[in-house]
Symmetry: C3
Subunit: 477 residues, 3 copies
């Protein structure tokens, strides 16, 4: 523990019962349920940690580059306090040590802005349990906390592989471009000294968005990598099939898709070729580009029914809402905003085609939580292929998790859900995120035991399933 000499410096107090219900009887049930799964291995079937980190096992960079700059959960709310994103290192090519330290001070100064958010829970747990300091981030403690992290990062047991084992990760999925050669996954698989399991995930979004200016170039590149002429829709399809097979051969179990809406609908082959040709020539209207994207996504579903890669959807987000930030600083900086998202009609064609297909499996996430009780739980409560994804992104927080279980369970039970998905690039926070989910599920289950909807035994089985069989089934692990 790195500690301040002053006895009055505020400390982080990680209460062992945090996030468990206040009612004493319910809390004791929740504590028992949580304790039984607290140390279960972490299954992380969807996330954004680069495979390179584990393949190369290099030390992490400075605290700001490690914890702040790449984490849009932090940058967005700091930006909302009036902090320029560049002051946090976003879009800054090579920040100086002074810039990094200054950015960290900004985080500490505005730390009270995170009260009530899960970011506060996660980062404080990281500081105590991963870094080993219980100093509360404040303007006064900023440099001490920064130094504590920097010192810890330099230690040999703080390399990515050591942490992987210390965190108790059983499997970790990355998210990868279809043209990626997966060299890091290959290296890991070939390394006899590496006991972990790191799987690629096929994420082809950009190759389906025919309305974007870079699309023709990307599709050319896809053709080169696959060794197929992508000048036709048929060629695009073949190239994708080949790349999916490549990913599957490297351990992938799922593809991931995040478009503005959830719709996928088949294209008549001839009309599809015409649309595709128009888009290649830059002559597709915005509506045609959307129609083509929905057709290409339907093709992805069709491939999934054949190659058995689980299809996961993360729709309904307006990406890069603030154009100026996008143009100056790039994407994924915290300006993505959800929109109303519809599933019953959008998924009609694909579920009619493959909804009862034994090879097809679809995990649907949403940031429009109104869909949970209205559409997703009813769909998952009928179609054996469809699973309701765990609370995602803005909903990855204790109250939202409770609402998710309350909205889904009464219609679809527990077994039609996906298990927790950390969806993060913040590697250090993975245990804290899974821990939060386990606490939230224990809290929900305890409530059902306390009002006698479940027996304690039933709740124990469910709590175990939710961290073992449930994600393994939803993601075919």
């Amino acid at each position: 523990m790195v500690t301040l000499p002053s006895p009055v410096a505020p400390r982080i107090a990680l209460h062992p019962d945090r996030l468990l219900p206040a009612d004493p009887g319910t809390r004791s049930i929740a504590r028992e349920l949580y304790d039984a799964v607290r140390t279960a291995p972490i299954i992380s079937p969807h996330g954004h940690v680069p495979a390179r980190w584990l393949a190369e096992d290099a030390p992490f960079p400075d605290p700001t580059a490690l914890l702040i700059t790449p984490d849009h959960y932090l940058t967005r709310l700091l930006h909302a306090q009036g902090v320029p994103l560049t002051d946090l290192g976003v879009g800054v090519a090579d920040p100086s040590p002074e810039q990094s330290r200054a950015a960290f001070r900004l985080l500490c100064r505005f730390w009270p802005a995170f009260r009530g958010t899960p970011v506060k829970l996660w980062l404080e747990q990281v500081l105590v349990e991963v870094i080993g300091t219980d100093l509360m981030p404040t303007e006064d403690t900023a440099d001490l906390v920064y130094d504590a992290i920097a010192a810890r990062v330099a230690e040999p047991d703080f390399r990515p592989r050591a942490l992987y084992q210390r965190f108790g990760i059983e499997v970790l999925a990355t998210t990868d471009d279809p043209c990626d050669d997966l060299r890091h996954h290959t290296a890991l698989a070939a390394d006899p000294s590496w006991p972990g399991r790191v799987l690629p995930t096929f994420r082809p979004d950009r190759y389906l968005e025919a309305g974007r200016p870079e699309w023709p170039r990307l599709v050319d590149r896809l053709g080169e990598v696959a060794g197929v002429d992508t000048g036709t829709l048929a060629g695009w399809v073949t190239a994708m099939e080949l790349r999916r097979a490549y990913f599957a051969a490297h351990g992938a179990v799922s593809s991931d898709h995040g478009h503005r809406d959830a719709r996928m609908a088949p294209l008549d082959p001839a009309a599809g070729e015409r649309l595709y040709a128009a888009a290649r020539a830059g002559r597709a209207t915005p509506d045609e580009a959307v129609q083509l994207r929905r057709g290409l996504l339907f093709e992805m579903a069709r491939m999934a029914s054949e190659d058995g890669l689980v299809m996961t959807l993360h729709p309904g987000v307006c990406r890069d809402h603030h154009r100026d930030s996008r143009e100056r600083l790039g994407t994924d900086l915290g300006a993505d905003i959800p929109v109303t998202t519809e599933f019953t009609t959008a998924l009609h064609p694909v579920l009619n085609a493959f909804g009862t297909h034994p090879r097809f499996q679809l995990v649907v996430f949403t940031v429009d939580e109104t869909a949970f009780s209205r559409e997703l739980a009813p769909l998952a409560g009928f179609y054996p292929s469809l699973y309701v994804g765990a609370p995602w992104w803005f909903l990855d927080a204790p109250d939202a998790m409770e609402r998710y279980r309350a909205a889904v369970t009464e219609t679809a039970g527990f077994g039609r859900t996906s298990g927790f998905v950390d969806d993060t690039r913040a590697y250090l926070s993975i245990p804290a995120r899974h821990d939060t989910s386990r606490r939230a599920d224990a809290a929900y289950l305890a409530r059902l035991v306390a009002d006698h909807r479940l027996t304690l035994d039933e709740a124990h089985q469910i709590a175990q399933d939710l961290v073992t069989t449930t994600p393994r089934k939803a993601f075919r692990l």
Copy 2:
């Protein structure tokens, strides 16, 4: 009680405090409120039990045909586990005893999938309180439970009429086709030995859906039954008026309507006749068919303002989402999925026409729960004719009921709601469903007493009203 010899077989434990809040102080208030209404007679103003059952009073069939095959709450979630619907008897003309027993085994095997759903609460309560076995359904106990039910079904006091009295039903509404001759209702009314009250409900959906291929044939049949030429819209209107009068003369107090959306809007008479003629000739476009349906539904509202039948709406469901199941096996098998549903604009014309009409009364149900606080409670909080229907279908569950009360009460109070509606064809589960609702309302009221929003006396009055005056007023009983 039929019990297993083995002392380790799992037992159903129906805790007397189930569904009541965990906090001890709140629970004791809830228990007192619940106890005061626990045995109040059951008013069931909307459901799907066939009148024939009570008129003929024949023994129930085998356990699977009684409990599984016709209950889409069960078949849907079993289908989601990968069980073919035909294995549950759906669409099977005359299942063999072996098939029925095998289907029951599937239910028992997958019983854990129902954990957290109200189906588990209802069926376990049925097993203990109606059947008289406390054996938990499992693969091991399946045959014993099956035999226990089969034995019970054969007993004379297990006939529909005996159960009606044992269940303490005061009034039971059925759901009937406008062309139905209501012979079973007539027989019951004429039977001096029958002390119950079974009312028909006028459900004309199919006669309004001009976009369906069977519509012209149905409308012909309507004309025959009513003795009116339905070749014109005016004829259709007259025929409906006559059939409504026939239903009213047989005790009906309401008509029920379940279309894709809630809109009803008047048709200009001449344009209406043209639309109707086009639809009769099979020449109406899909949009025109929708426009005609909304016009016909508006006519229903106009009739309601004259004949005083309460109009109930159950909109917003995509029926038969899975076409293949529909084509092979029929409807009502668990593949109906809710959609976003709008009311403020949709009901504008009808509320402007009849919203303050003293004879008009409209009870609006929804499976899009976002409408409760946004639209339905505000509407019911102004229009004396409009009542917010109880949580329906997917929302007929403890957590959803709590959300319903929390969403509606602060804007519309308790008196602008409909009282509980079981909406079921699962006759045996009627007491369990009403019991769940009474517990949920007691839990909600207890919370308001515990935080001093209501006095205990006020809560007692409300709890009594909710099972007596509230449904009687909403349904004009």
Copy 3:
């Protein structure tokens, strides 16, 4: 205290712990948090009390004209019980004393209909704490309560200014027409004996609604008052700028806008002039009128970025849903019904233009609570200019407030919210409304302390901020 001689007359019991959580441990935390802010001065940055009341300081009228007729929270739910609005004085030019008393009897008779609504909480608190009677309104006590209020209203310490000080109001914003000369605000500012702070708010809705028949006349009047020819769009813009400056010079800190949707989008200047000219000539289509309104609202945002008046939006309500009541009796009588409201796309243009502008500040309210977690909290969690408005209108109630905090906090924290806004013309109820909000926030914070998401110290700071720095920052007070 005015009391009935009969010991059995029902009494209002205002429990000191009302609205605090039932769990004893959580309640004691909530009580401590609430006690620390209970008597903090009231900041009321948005409401509908006329400045004239405070400028003239005349006695209030009779109890019905004071409490019932102008309060659509009361008239709407009484209308839903079947009470004609005219019986409550709505649209009645000069009600007789008998009519006023009869209206008050109706309120008392139907008082049970308000159980579970915040109206009951507010009015009972007003009766006990402002009027000084603990008689529960019933048919039997109606005249006694009426007389108690009438007697109290006649007392000198019951004048508006005396109550302002007794209520502990620090600042009170009114809502005013752009053409208002603000004479009452001027008089108050010039009165050395008046220690309060009453600010106008610029509310130009009617001048943007080019689709309404009165629009050309209103725009003419705007031109006269501003001394600018409003025959062109450029003239309209100049006139608005001048009136905003006039308001700012008289202390205004915000403008307020309540249209059907939240969209604002710039007009091309030439096209804007053409649209404006068409609208002036009464030739604009409904779609063009909407387009023009959105363009004019965008201009308001542009002005806000220059003059620094905070822009507040209250969109998403279908005003005067019941046309017959509107035509006979006017507006604001309880027939306004919310509609689904979208923000992510609607606010895209304005946030791209001014979202990071240091002078621009936007507070967004909604009665479509689905937007809180999906759109408003994400937007406020990125854009430093955007604040999530407090629960408004139908959502201004304990359970809805809890849902609001639960939906917003995990994504945006506490500091990106507006602080409580009473939005009322019911002057006597202002303390009760703020008290309800303080209790609700204490309850929410106590829950976060009880499950160790916040320390007690953190919760105390937040509770203080929410009634001091938070509204001051959001409204630039």
